[in-house]
């Protein structure tokens, strides 16, 4: 599972659109199309190079969710998007 201090960014070979709170991701090299709704689409938008921990804190600020639960869910969801080839972990500076 990805570490809380790890940073993630969107893969350069992914095209995406967020429409009415849902995200459509096209993973070009896999020729795969993914639809993400609700909080998942928001997490996708937050994956701009910030840490997993920062993404989880942003969700806590916006949704009625405990910090521990938010962090666990973000780590699992981001890990899934990395497996799909939609996100890449950034090398630490």
């Amino acid at each position: 599972m990805i570490e809380p201090n790890a940073r993630v960014r969107r893969h350069e070979r992914v095209a995406a659109r967020v429409v009415d709170g849902e995200a459509l991701l096209v993973v070009l090299d896999e020729k795969q199309l993914h639809r993400i709704n609700g909080v998942g689409a928001h997490v996708w938008e937050l994956c701009d190079g910030r840490t997993i921990d920062a993404i989880a804190r942003a969700l806590v600020d916006e949704y009625d969710v405990a910090a521990e639960r938010a962090l666990a869910d973000v780590r699992e969801f981001v890990g899934h998007l990395i497996e799909l080839g939609a996100l890449v972990p950034e090398d630490p500076p």
Binding site: E12, R17, V19, D20, E22, L24, V26, L28, L33
Partner: protein, 294 residues
């Protein structure tokens, strides 16, 4: 003043001889200079069914292209896949049988040269490849779809191979099929236009005499259980239906962003939905009823 898109009748068999010829195909006006392609190369059935008179057809691009026969390219191949690439104002389309290079001149006009094998198959590949590339370059899309003409407008059935797109055209017995597997879609005048492209197996449904029609709906086919039903899609669901059916041989990230933008524009201009079909149950009433409610 812009006029509404109209339906266009096909020209039937179209034989192209040496010299200059001009016609519309897939939303593009082609002006071909064919001085060196050999006497055997000609545009014939079934390609002629998808062509129309260039003066009256709704189009998004105009290309002047010199065709040159290249004996080093194989005249016949099985399943020749096209590729496309864009580099600034230069657009390249290729396959094992063709090599095309076009320059964008602005305002939807292109000029270029094509080297091709000496065969009908290679000439058809030039037309299909160039039409697909230019429609996409001008903000349109090529969809994997069956096209049905119903009451003078186009309904596109989309979905993965084997889902029942051709069957759906047969179940809409008041309609006529104008495309079996590929359709170019683009904005023209006051609304989107669907232009049938060759390919796919002929459906059992009667054939339409139109090459292009005003586009009214895009419906993702699903297999139902009891009665056919239709459910409208909005937002990301509509975008998914359209993008899922897009065909493109241009793999760049920039190209994909453009395709998503085109799909989003299209989703706001036509009705998008999911259609559950059931064998033995007509779709005509359902399609007309949904059309009347719009």
């Amino acid at each position: 003043m812009l006029s509404p898109p109209s339906a266009g009748r096909t020209g039937g068999a179209r034989r192209l001889r040496s010299g200059r010829c001009r016609f519309a195909f897939g939303g593009v006006v082609f002006e071909l200079l064919m001085n060196d392609v050999g006497p055997d190369v000609q545009l014939d059935e079934p390609m002629g069914r998808f062509c129309a008179d260039a003066t009256a057809a709704p189009t998004v691009a105009h290309v002047s292209c010199t065709l040159q026969h290249d004996a080093s390219l194989p005249p016949q191949v099985g399943g020749d896949a096209l590729w496309m690439a864009r580099d600034g104002d230069t657009l390249r389309v290729g396959s094992r049988q063709i090599q095309v290079e076009l320059q964008a001149l602005g305002a939807g006009r292109y000029r270029g040269r094509a080297r091709l094998a000496s065969s009908n198959q290679a000439l058809e590949a030039v037309l299909r490849g160039v039409a697909a590339a230019l429609v996409e370059a001008e903000g349109g899309l090529v969809l994997h779809a069956c096209g049905l003409e119903l009451d003078g407008r186009a309904v596109l059935f989309v979905g993965p191979s084997g889902v029942g797109k051709s069957t759906a055209t047969c179940l809409a017995e008041a309609g006529h099929c104008f495309a079996y597997d590929h359709v170019a879609v683009f904005e023209h005048g006051s609304g989107p236009v669907a232009w049938g492209l060759p390919g796919g197996s002929a459906a059992a449904a009667p054939r339409s005499s139109h090459a292009h029609l005003p586009l009214s709906r895009i419906l993702r086919i699903r297999r139902g259980q009891d009665q056919p039903r239709l459910q409208r899609c909005d937002g990301a669901a509509a975008l998914f239906v359209i993008r899922e059916s897009v065909e493109s041989a241009e793999p760049s990230q920039r190209g994909e962003q453009a395709r998503l933008s085109a799909a989003m524009r299209l989703a706001t201009r036509v009705e998008v939905g999911e259609l559950w079909t059931v064998l033995g149950h007509s779709l005509t009433g359902l399609l007309r009823e949904a059309g009347a409610q719009r």
